[in-house]
């Protein structure tokens, strides 16, 4: 196994010890629970731990010690694993999205058993794409960027593996839990308490790895991409812990009650929810943008000042904006007003970031035209600008009175997630995969072009059809006839949605087809892996042994 070849035998032994601990943890979980999702999850931990024990144990006997030369190179093996997981989750999570979209048009297709019902699969989609696809991409690219911009190897060899494998265990627990009916029902924070605790452990290790590697950097300054990745790591930890505070019903039930209730819970939930958007779906990906776009375009970031301004603007303003999810509700009015005000101000740093990225491309437009990979990043920056403009607009109270609860929100969500998040990830993947697998280019360069157009067309069809859907819905709900009675029953508004839902399914299908093509293209590239040394890579600065 190539995965273990860069580990020394001591590291392999420690890894085995950790894997045995994981087996024990799984046994305890299964033993305490005796039934239900928590027992199944315990079983998964046992299985994963055993596989790791065998892999590492096998390596101990069969594989030679790695050469000391590895210390003069970057540690890329865990990053390769992270990229593969990103692709797997992309296909699985988006396939779930397309299936859900189809169910909204064609509900009779729901099978008569519980596991695949709409309400259980919806969080599989959201967690699958946000955490599985987005999270793996963020962790993998952050470790890549961290090493290059610090010109230092990761601080140790085991913790990146712990972070990535542990994070994926969390994602699998989450998705399989929902299917079995286990959920806290808090949007984007559905997993139960033990999975949440596990994620805290993973996240603390991730943060420690980041800081320890930064401490070894050979550059005096911390590059801007790393500020964003750090904000992502830190604030997500803060949000995750506060929002998920809960008391388990019994130790073995795998069920809990959140300690927050009613209006306070709503405010904390959306303080979390909105900033999951801000620090998971935005800050981390801005870090990605700030590294991969200038590198690919071979131009420096347009303005250093602007990047400082937008960074602190985003960190400060976003945290106030969550209450725009609660306009006209039982939340006190002044909190809604604050949320609205800060959401509008948020447009300034958001557009500063988007503008900075686009201005960086000045002088490299011919590359944007010829290179689909760079074009992915350019389109991502444009959609980032569009969706933040739309967001600030939706946060204005009277606009929100129309848009809230409708498919307009879902349209906004996907202009951000498809147009911005997924596009920047694809741009980063197409930049990284050839480098990390020792090749000059992707195996099928033409397929990147195809993927680009599938993704753009899919996003546009998706977003435009849901704008129409949402606005129609909102207007129908509030329409009165001359007699002063409501013009439409609810079910009439549902019927009016059907053509849009069908179109959205088609748009999502195109987007999924593109993602699948990307995964196959990457697989072909990986299978033909060469041993070309990436000459553009910044050389690592030798470190004294620890």
């Amino acid at each position: 196994m190539a995965m273990t070849s860069t580990l020394t035998s001591t590291e392999r032994q420690i890894g085995m010890a950790l894997s045995i601990l994981l087996v024990c943890l799984g046994l305890v979980m299964a033993g305490v629970a005796k039934q239900g999702p928590m027992m199944v999850h315990g079983g998964m931990a046992v299985a994963l731990g055993l596989v790791l024990v065998f892999v590492l144990g096998g390596a101990l006997y069969d594989q030679p010690e790695p050469s000391p030369e590895r210390l003069t190179q970057y540690d890329d093996a865990p990053i390769r694993f992270g990229i593969v997981m990103t692709l797997i989750w992309a296909v699985a999570g988006m396939a779930a999205g397309v299936w859900l979209a189809a169910l909204m048009y064609w509900p009779e297709a729901t099978p008569p058993w519980p596991a695949t019902s709409y309400g259980r699969l919806r969080p599989v989609h959201t967690s699958g794409v946000i955490f599985g696809f987005g999270g793996n991409a963020l962790i993998a690219t952050s470790l890549y960027v961290l090493q290059r911009t610090s010109r230092a190897r990761l601080a140790d060899a085991l913790s990146p593996w712990f972070v990535l494998i542990g994070f994926n265990l969390f994602c699998v627990w989450a998705a399989t839990g929902y299917v079995m009916g286990q959920t806290q029902s808090k949007e984007y924070a559905e997993p139960e308490w033990y999975a949440d605790l596990w994620l805290v452990l993973v996240w603390v290790t991730y943060f420690a790895l980041y800081i320890r590697t930064l401490a070894r950097r050979a550059e005096p300054h911390i590059y801007v991409a790393n500020w964003y990745y750090m904000a992502f790591i830190l604030v997500v930890a803060m949000l995750h812990i506060v929002n998920n505070l809960a008391i388990p019903v019994t130790w073995g039930a795998g069920e809990s009650f959140t300690i927050w209730s009613g209006v306070q819970d709503a405010m904390i939930q959306w303080w979390y929810g909105h900033n999951a958007v801000a620090f998971f779906l935005t800050a981390g990906f801005l870090g990605m943008l700030y590294y991969f776009l200038p590198v690919r375009a071979e131009r420096p970031i347009w303005s250093y000042r602007l990047s400082i301004l937008s960074f602190w603007g985003i960190v400060f303003f976003y945290m106030w904006a969550g209450s725009h999810h609660l306009h006209y509700t039982a939340l006190p009015y002044w909190v809604q007003t604050l949320g609205m005000t800060f959401s509008v101000m948020l447009l300034v740093p958001s557009w500063a970031s988007a503008g900075n990225a686009i201005a960086t491309l000045n002088g490299a437009w011919h590359k944007v035209r010829d290179d689909a990979t760079l074009r992915f990043m350019f389109v991502a920056a444009v959609f980032y600008g569009l969706s933040t403009f739309e967001g600030s607009f939706l946060a204005i109270r009277p606009v929100n009175s129309l848009s809230h609860y409708t498919d307009w929100t879902v349209g906004h969500v996907h202009s951000g997630t498809l147009g911005w998040v997924a596009m920047i990830v694809f741009g980063a993947i197409y930049s990284l995969v050839p480098k990390l697998w020792g090749r000059e280019d992707m195996a099928w360069p033409r397929a990147v072009e195809w993927h680009f157009w599938l993704a753009v067309t899919g996003t546009l069809i998706y977003v435009v059809s849901l704008w129409n859907a949402g606005i129609t819905q909102g207007l129908m709900w509030r329409a009165y006839d001359e007699g002063g009675a409501l013009s439409y029953s609810f079910i009439e508004s549902v019927e009016a949605m059907l053509p849009y839902y069908a179109a959205r399914t088609l748009g999502g299908g195109l987007f999924l087809a593109g993602a699948l093509l990307c995964a196959l293209n990457c697989r072909a590239t990986m299978c033909a892996a060469g041993d070309r040394v990436d000459v553009s890579d910044r050389p690592l600065v030798a470190q004294p042994a620890e």
Binding site: T110, F257, G262, M267, F490
Partner: protein, 242 residues
């Protein structure tokens, strides 16, 4: 300023501290007062917590992800008042851990659904929505006719009591029996349910099958309770209309 930042970029823990400090302000200013300002949540005198059976129904509502398509928060907008009823008060979800206000209305709001339809309507609708509303896009839930698992009910009430929901020792102790008795109006335990949760608590065989206590009993009892835990919202609306 630029100079200061230029130096900050050299100290990783400095950046960490600054990020935490800057990011904390918004949350502290907006969230902390919600716990101290008394008026945020005024609990009306007639407010009752969910009965054990309703609570079990709520857990099924969460398990099946009904909240992904249904909100439970009527906003203070004219068309919502006309369509759904009085706007929702903070107090109405004060005992909800977590709240289920929702963010998407693929289906209608359910905050005032209690009493709108008969039990048998709900039952037929949940088993096959299209048998009642031919163009509905709601999924069917035929498996809700299986037996209700009551093993966690007592512990659930005890946990909620620790979090401040007014379940007393008597309620916790009788939780499992009350869940069954609420669906058996003629049984011995029925009187106890009334004593503990009030005269207005509906005692009926929700799913029309007197021999079994099913998940359907629990879900329908929960749906019928929505908007009926206090009369305060309707009283306030009546006052405002005058």
């Amino acid at each position: 300023m630029l100079k200061l930042h230029y130096n900050l970029e050299k100290i990783s823990m400095g950046l960490v501290g600054a990020i935490i400090a800057v990011a904390s302000v918004g949350g502290i200013v907006e969230i902390a007062p919600l716990f101290t300002i008394e008026e945020t949540v005024e609990i009306p005198a007639d407010m009752r917590p969910h009965t054990p059976l309703e609570l079990a129904g709520r857990e099924i509502y969460i398990r099946e992800g009904c909240y992904a398509c249904h909100s439970q928060m009527v906003r203070s907008l004219a068309d919502e008042l006309d369509r759904y009823g009085p706007y929702s008060l903070a107090a109405e979800s004060a005992y909800d851990h977590p709240m289920l206000w929702g963010s998407k209305r693929t289906g209608p709001d359910l905050a005032r659904i209690g009493g709108k339809y008969s039990d048998s309507w709900h039952m037929a609708h949940l088993i096959d929505p299209r048998s009642v509303i031919p163009v509905s896009i709601m999924p069917a839930y035929p498996w809700l006719t299986r037996a209700l698992d009551t093993r966690l009910i007592e512990d659930s009430l005890a946990t909620l009591a620790r979090l401040g929901v007014p379940y007393d020792a008597d309620m916790i102790e009788n939780a499992t029996a009350d869940a069954l008795a609420q669906s058996r109006p003629d049984s011995d335990g029925a009187e106890g349910v009334r004593d503990r949760y009030g005269e207005d608590v509906p005692l009926r065989d929700f799913d029309g099958d007197p021999d079994r206590l099913t998940e359907m009993d629990a879900v329908v009892a929960y749906l019928q309770s929505l908007g009926t835990l206090t009369g305060e919202a309707r009283r306030l609306m009546a006052e405002e209309d005058e």
